[in-house]
């Protein structure tokens, strides 16, 4: 297979966003045109049909995560859901305590929200992760104090796909009377998520990571044992049980609901198919290349994620060689901050190994032929760049790179 006649790169960046499923688009379209009503209009048919559509969406999301439809609060996406959950709890439960526990590998939407709260007087514990990317449950237990009001630990990581022991965290949180929020954007629709079994109190989702539209998401807010309350972060018309004001994005929510329904119906088959493709990619790369390393646990991992470091090959030059494949790198050169991935560094990787990492995020629309194309291309480019690499040459000569006196620059 070649890309001749196909000008767009192969898309292997499904942790960043996913292609809208055509079935989702079809469900959304009428709500841009004939069914354009405001779901809050209670006195005419336009409003009623919009309300009916968003209530269906609420049921579809709830069904996918084992919740009750009344527990779904619509938002603009996971960043807003995370902000609402964490700031909303911190403000509502300020009299109970001011301590929040999270982890070093969380998404910036959680980390930066916590940093904001630190400036407002909250105390935040950032748990380190073990070499496999998971938190240490004993460390979590030890971090809980009588001031702890919230634990916020992601379901699955966006870079390395590592799935946290969410049910165990939920159990610990329940035992200690602490609320538990999880940013589940990478997990929902991909692996089974159940807010009852996992004892989750707050859970963030977004549509565009599961073949839905951008700009729409939801926050699950538990209503029973315990009934979670949040301080609204936006003032207005009191929509969404007063937790999130703002006219509902009806077509977007129809898309989110449809995306959830499709994911729920197809998850067993789809996750198995993607796992097979991911494992094939890994096997081919490992068979052809030495000095490649998997970042994060393979056992506790999303089926469609592979994150590998290709030692002695710099990430940006690697991306340049595979410009017909859309992936992400942990290299500093590709990040806005010019810092290598903080997630990989939290696993204990040195900057050099973080620089050489590639994240492959498979998705619904990828094919076996694309896996083979990507494997062939990766092998060819890594081999070529290693011929260019003074580091690879030195290692092959038996030189220990850690003992070399490098010239600082």
């Amino acid at each position: 297979m070649t890309l001749a006649g196909n000008m767009k790169p192969i898309y292997f960046d499904n942790h960043a966003t996913t292609q809208l499923d055509p079935r989702v688009l079809q469900a959304m379209l009428p709500y841009f045109t004939e069914h354009f009503g405001n779901a809050a209009s209670r006195n005419h048919a336009y409003g009623w049909e919009a309300e009916e559509a968003v209530e269906k969406s609420r049921r579809q999301i709830a069904s996918l995560i084992g919740a009750n439809a009344k527990e779904i609060v619509f938002t603009s996406g996971a960043t807003e859901s995370n902000n609402l959950a964490i700031k909303g709890v911190a403000e509502m439960y300020a009299e109970k305590g001011n301590h929040i526990i999270t982890a070093a590998t969380e998404h910036k939407a959680v980390l930066d929200t916590c940093k904001h709260l630190e400036k407002k007087g909250c105390r935040v514990t950032y748990l380190p992760v073990m070499g496999d990317g998971r938190i240490d449950l004993d460390m979590l237990r030890g971090a809980i104090t009588d001031q702890t009001i919230l634990i916020s630990i992601m379901y699955a990581n966006n870079e390395i796909g590592v799935v946290q022991p969410v049910a165990e965290i939920g159990k610990i949180a329940k035992e200690r009377g602490v609320l538990f929020h999880t940013d589940a954007v990478q997990a929902v629709g991909k692996i089974p998520v159940n807010v009852i079994a996992d004892q989750v109190d707050l859970l963030s989702v977004t549509a565009h990571k599961m073949y839905g539209p951008k700009g729409v998401g939801a926050l699950y807010v538990r209503r029973k044992s315990p009934r979670v309350q949040l301080t609204a972060q936006m003032d207005g018309g009191g929509h969404e049980r007063g937790m999130r004001s703002g006219t509902l994005n009806v077509p977007g929510l129809v898309g989110l609901g449809e995306a959830c329904a499709i994911a729920q119906a197809e998850m067993p088959e789809e996750s198995q198919r993607l796992r097979g493709m991911r494992d094939r990619l890994r096997a081919r790369l490992e068979a052809a290349l030495d000095e490649v390393f998997i970042n994060g646990s393979m056992e506790h991992r999303l089926p469609h994620n592979l994150n590998m470091s290709f030692a002695y090959v710099e990430g940006e030059s690697l991306l340049m060689g595979i410009d017909d494949i859309a992936v992400s790198s942990g290299s500093a050169c590709t990040s806005a901050t010019l810092e290598p991935s903080y997630v990989l560094k939290a696993l204990g990787l040195g900057d050099d190994m973080a620089h050489t990492s590639i994240r492959f995020g498979l998705g619904r629309f990828n094919t076996e032929a694309e896996i083979d194309y990507v494997a062939d291309k990766m092998i060819a480019v890594v081999t070529k760049l290693r011929e260019l690499s003074p580091l690879y040459e030195m290692v092959k000569e038996g030189i220990d790179l850690s003992k070399v006196q490098w010239t600082a620059h």
């Binding site: 990430g315 500093a332 040195g350 620089h355 003074p390 790179l401």
Partner: protein, 135 residues
């Protein structure tokens, strides 16, 4: 990141990739940068003892496309020059030739450093005084 055609050309067809015998008295080797910084350049020159002219130059670079292109270009320019002429190569010449954007100027600086380090190594081997490092 958009790369200039010249950077792409050097990346896709790097000139003078390889290694010379670093123990040869006529060979000067420069190695600059560090793996943690994402750039390591090894640049070597081989000086003709009769003419004092750089007959051969080789490089290996761990780094981004601009770093690879800067060192590849440097080897092209080094060949046929005397050591003193080679010392006159400035990083700004590389920036101009490759149309490097501001965030990639450090790649050209590294290439100039690699040239100086290689010449330095050669001069020391020949019993001469080391040249001053620019950076």
């Amino acid at each position: 990141m958009a790369y200039s055609n010249k950077v792409l050309d050097h990346y896709n067809h790097p000139r003078n990739v390889g290694s010379l015998d670093k123990n040869d008295a006529q060979v000067g080797t420069g190695m600059v940068g560090a793996p943690e910084c994402g750039d390591v350049m090894k640049l070597q020159i081989k000086v003709n003892p009769e003419t004092g002219i750089i007959d051969d130059a080789k490089f290996k670079t761990f780094g981004c496309g601009s770093a690879i292109a800067s060192s590849s270009l440097a080897t092209e320019w080094l060949k046929g020059k005397t050591v003193d002429e080679a010392l006159a190569i400035k990083n700004t010449d590389i920036v101009n030739e490759l149309a490097l954007p501001p965030v990639k100027i450090h790649c050209s600086v590294l290439a100039e450093d690699a040239i100086k380090a290689a010449i330095n190594d050669y001069k020391v081997k020949q019993g001469g005084a080391p040249v001053l490092q620019a950076h």
